[in-house]
């Protein structure tokens, strides 16, 4: 037991502190995640011996100096981060770790949700929470022969998304549509959800859901402990699908999943390939719907955002349903349009 340890917040805006932390993490074989909200360091006579961070409700970049392992320093780090998370209102906390560390986190009150081979385990701080989520989902289950599913972000809802949903709706009895609820997109979840709801009103066999914390988007999947980018995409896709197959498919009796074809983004393309293999292995049909083209060009939400950014609202008319167009013309959307104009990010 060590009594002379100090806990101190590390401010990443401070170049010196950031540099020190980076060196420390690199020595432990991990990188500094580029999106962190909070970082704490444990110091032994002013020498950094352990650290941990979080981004929103996910704990990240945990590391303990090799000489100091086995002294319960990690417990100190996790305790500190948990208290800080509660202060910020995050009471349901998640983390990703390598398989050989599961034992430690299990002792610290984390429960396993899903894992990918030998590479990563996804854990949460609430006991039985995923089982409860699954049970809640099951309440919306409707028995039918052909039950399908779609996961979309719809940032914002375009004719392309509508085409995908209509196609699935036509070919199935029930379609469960999961709208990504993470706040990583420039258009907030409430708006994206509303536009989908309004734009699909004419379809009677679809059920809308929010993804909650269990469908992980590549925006929040932490990659700091995985070496190259391709492996990151692969592992992320596999993990996401594990959760999908283990908890969502059985709850709703899903038989197929529809996705839009991805001609541009390599990451999504790779993701779709992994998805195909993984779903078909379990006997779930996987269907890629070619992108809807207008004037020879595939519709994409990023192009719609581009038009909005360039102040060409009229241009989006042919690319989005009337409901989406009307929204962006309304007074309500003024603030959002300003935000879109100021955002530089791809999402």
């Amino acid at each position: 037991m060590e009594y002379n340890l100090k806990e101190k917040r590390i401010f990443l805006d401070d170049t010196m502190e950031r540099k020190n932390l980076e060196i420390f993490l690199n020595n432990q074989g991990i990188n500094l995640d580029n999106r962190l909200d909070y970082t704490v360091g444990i110091y032994k006579s002013d020498k950094l011996i352990a650290t941990g961070s979080f981004y929103k409700n996910t704990i990240r970049c945990l590391a303990v100096n090799a000489e100091c392992r086995g002294l319960g320093v990690l417990n100190k780090v996790v305790s500190h981060l948990m208290s800080e998370q509660f202060l910020r209102g995050f009471t349901h906390v998640f983390l990703y770790t390598k398989c050989n560390y599961v034992r430690f986190f299990s002792d610290l009150g984390f429960y396993e949700i899903a894992r990918v081979d030998d590479s990563v385990v996804f854990m949460e701080s609430e006991f039985n929470a995923i089982q409860k989520y699954s049970a809640e989902l099951a309440k919306t289950s409707i028995s039918a022969d052909r039950i399908s599913s779609i996961v979309i972000n719809a940032n914002p809802f375009t004719l392309g998304h509508l085409h995908l949903i209509e196609k699935a709706s036509e070919e199935n009895d029930i379609v469960h549509v999961f709208v990504v609820s993470e706040a990583e997109s420039v258009i907030p979840f409430s708006v994206r959800y509303e536009l989908i709801r309004k734009g699909t009103k004419h379809l009677k066999n679809i059920v809308l859901h929010k993804t909650g914390d269990y469908i992980i988007s590549n925006a929040t999947f932490p990659s700091y402990f995985i070496k190259d980018e391709e492996t990151v995409v692969l592992i992320h896709a596999k993990l996401d699908l594990e959760v999908f197959k283990k908890y969502i498919v059985p709850a709703l009796g899903i038989k197929s999943r529809y996705v839009g074809e991805e001609p541009y983004c390599m990451v999504t393309k790779k993701y779709n390939e992994v998805m195909k293999e993984s779903l078909e292995k379990e006997g779930i049909k996987f269907k890629i719907i070619p992108r809807l083209k207008i004037n020879g060009q595939a519709i994409s939400a990023s192009r719609v955002r581009e038009y909005i950014r360039e102040d060409k609202i009229e241009e989006i008319k042919g690319l989005v349903p009337d409901t989406t167009y009307d929204y962006f013309k309304s007074k309500e959307a003024e603030e959002l349009i300003k935000t879109i104009k100021n955002s530089k990010s791809r999402h």
Binding site: G72, N75, V78, S79, H80, M82, S83, F86, G109
Partner: protein, 100 residues
């Protein structure tokens, strides 16, 4: 009767301490989920101490998650009291007579 108005946390995961997380449990009674490094030897006693504190503080519906690292009874008691006070939004005028 005390009412839980928000989630709360008290204690740490360090040796000889216990971390208590409290979440409201609308009309579903008292639900305790305990993970302890000394579960086999003292699990029953830890649950007993937790339940007694909740009873004394008149908490009837609660989901309590405890991660114990070998805390003594007095520590367990103090951590549960603290978590309850935080969950009920009590910041001053603690009713020490009830607590003791």
């Amino acid at each position: 009767m005390m009412k839980i108005i928000k989630e709360s946390i008290a204690g740490t995961l360090e040796s000889s301490d216990i971390q208590i997380i409290i979440v409201s449990n609308e009309n579903a009674g008292i639900e305790i989920n305990l993970k302890s490094s000394v579960e086999k030897q003292f699990g029953k006693q830890i649950r007993k101490v937790i339940t007694e504190v909740l009873k004394k503080m008149e908490i009837q519906n609660v989901k309590l998650v405890a991660v114990d690292k070998g805390a003594l009874d007095c520590t367990i008691k103090a951590r549960v009291e603290c978590a309850v006070c935080r969950a009920c939004g009590i910041k001053e005028q603690y009713d020490w007579e009830v607590i003791d």
